[in-house]
Symmetry: C2
Subunit: 344 residues, 2 copies
DNA sequence: GGGCCGAATGTAAGCGCTTACATTTCTTTT
DNA sequence: AAAAGAAATGTAAGCGCTTACATTCGGCCC
């Protein structure tokens, strides 16, 4: 239906049409749109009038081709299918919109190969800058990005020792604080359910954070049971069941994220356990779900919106060349809620 | 950092570079990439070799400008900040990716004016087709879209009587089934918490569905209490509290979506009510949250993934011109869980 | 072997815009 | 009031690709 006719020219006005109507050259029209202060007010008014009369809006492809710049930022997140990144990205989008840029979102389904592909696709599409989650990826990708001179900002992580600037929080320190709190509640038999660590530096850092706290408490960090599983409620539940089978069972289960924690919580309840009397459970991220469970989930709150905003602003500065490019560290906060108590 | 140098030419190969290296014309290179069957195998191999050796990837802007087609589909959803659309969009993206197209997502924050702006932005960006949520919008927008001959598909709604083809479900019928189930459980004092209906045809249809069922049960549909509120857990809770204040309080609260229902559930529990003994609560959408609450939420399951897939496929057919363009109706399913019981 | 035809390839004209540079117009300055 | 300089505008050359049309090539028929 509605096949494109060849005479689109009649339908879609171009800068030449505007120029003709306003009695100026196309260069002036272009300037009116891109650098209004460089053209006399009187002329500008004429041009703008023509623009609105014709309903003109510049052709994006042509503009990008000529200007060698797309005003587009690409972001690649592990998954859209989940709430963690959504809120942050919404903020990114709003912030970029304010700067006149557009956000292009792709997702990698937690697969490094797919992420690499998406990165290339976004660059081919002319993304002026890229926002990536976590530092870890094939050096070849970074080499490619450097060769193409595409500014890259890492979000949802903070590690100034890495080559790319990042805006986020220190996953290890945050989790260490959480684990310390668990220890402070009196727990000694602690276990961890983590997302897959292989391609996920955030997950790894969080586990390290638990080890830190455990070691500080005088326990053996190498004896810490760590279960790895997929990012899904069900998976968290399955891991939990496996984890509490041996005796003595842990008195506290620290989960690498809220989704796993909620799975664990459900599994505990289905096993007839009372949380937190029989076992404590903690999460990480503070997604909306966390306040809805009964009891509510003790977790680490991450300022997603703020992070998105700051990351967007900083990345755009990198693209436009004004402003510094260092890393930025945000603070997380413990949210102690119902699922954490003292051991029996 | 990494300022763009003017000699990008040295860094980024163009079709001319590939042509030179392969010893053919640029036209042949272009054909190899866009219509491989139109070029001899031997030539093609030479060209492809050059492509990989040079690490060539076509410039998106130039390609779109010349071909008058961007291979891009734009989608505008009310909000990214929420899980309803995420799953569906993920499916849309995957399906489009399979067809070689890209998805561009924007969000309108439930504001019609913003939506209109985003539509224009996506069209200016050259979106080959648009996926919109719900039928209702300013006729002027539709006129604009028609003038520009941009194919439009409506998703998350099904109404073949509307001018634009849609892929989705019948919100009214689905909600009517839910309400009928509530009635069948013996409820007579029923109330509704709905999202704002003004700019939201889905919300309106759902309320109508409740009225249908109520009328069928021999009750007065005009006497049905309907509370309208924002799309947020807290808002649902506030509405609930207001709703149960008068006496006699309703024995069942039908919510227009799961988010409101979860707010209502929480409010009920904070009020010391037992759900479903003291009051029944139902939702709509079957988001992940719905299975996590205690008791689990009775709701209407919507096949988001399937809908996204089908919508994407159909819209792309509209864009490429092959295939029919009628509407497609998907089935929803009642998920009767813990929050629905018989009245005391 | 000449003529014909279809397939493969090449030539070159844009696609709609930006921008370096040239030209014109207006301010200043002396 | 003329010269010099700055500001505003115009001219035109691309940006990297696709594609209509022209050309070449090779196979086939008579």
């Amino acid at each position: 239906m509605t096949p494109k006719t060849p005479n689109l020219t009649e339908l879609v006005p171009t800068v030449a049409d505007v120029a003709r109507r306003a009695g100026v050259s196309t260069a002036t029209v272009s300037r009116c749109l891109n650098a209004p202060q460089r053209v006399q007010v009187k002329t500008r008014d004429k041009v703008m009038a023509a623009v609105t009369e014709l309903g003109y809006s510049p052709n994006f492809s042509a503009r990008s081709l000529a200007a060698r710049r797309t005003n587009t930022i690409g972001a690649i997140i592990p998954t859209m299918d989940n709430a963690i990144f959504a809120r942050g990205l919404q903020a990114v989008q709003e912030e970029l919109g304010r700067a006149g840029a557009t956000l292009l979102v792709a997702s990698s389904s937690y697969q490094p190969a797919l992420e690499a592909e998406q990165i290339r696709a976004l660059v081919a599409r002319g993304a002026d800058g890229l926002m990536l989650i976590g530092h870890q990826r094939d050096p070849e990708i970074y080499a490619f990005l450097d060769r193409r001179q595409v500014p890259v900002l890492v979000a949802w992580a903070y590690d100034p020792s890495q080559p790319k600037p990042s805006v986020g929080f220190d996953n290890r320190a945050a989790m260490r604080a959480m684990a310390a709190e668990v220890v402070a509640h009196g727990h000694r038999r602690i276990a961890v359910i983590s997302a897959r660590q292989a391609d996920n530096d955030r997950a790894r850092e969080r586990v390290l954070g638990v080890r830190d706290a455990v070691a500080e408490a005088g326990l053996d960090p190498t004896a810490l049971p760590v279960f790895e599983t997929d990012y899904a409620i069900e998976a968290g539940g399955a891991a939990f069941k496996e984890m509490v089978a041996p005796s003595p069972a842990p008195t506290a289960v620290i989960c690498g994220n809220d989704v796993l924690a909620i799975g664990a919580l459900r599994a505990a309840q289905s096993l007839g356990m009372d949380v937190p009397r029989d076992i404590s459970i903690t999460g990480f991220d503070d997604i909306e779900l966390a306040t809805v469970t009964t009891p509510a989930l003790t977790t680490v709150h991450v300022p997603h919106r703020e992070m998105g905003e700051l990351a967007a602003r900083r990345l755009w500065q990198m693209v436009t060349g004004d402003g510094q490019a260092g890393s930025l560290r945000l603070e997380t906060e413990l949210r102690i809620r119902g699922t954490l108590g003292a051991p029996a």
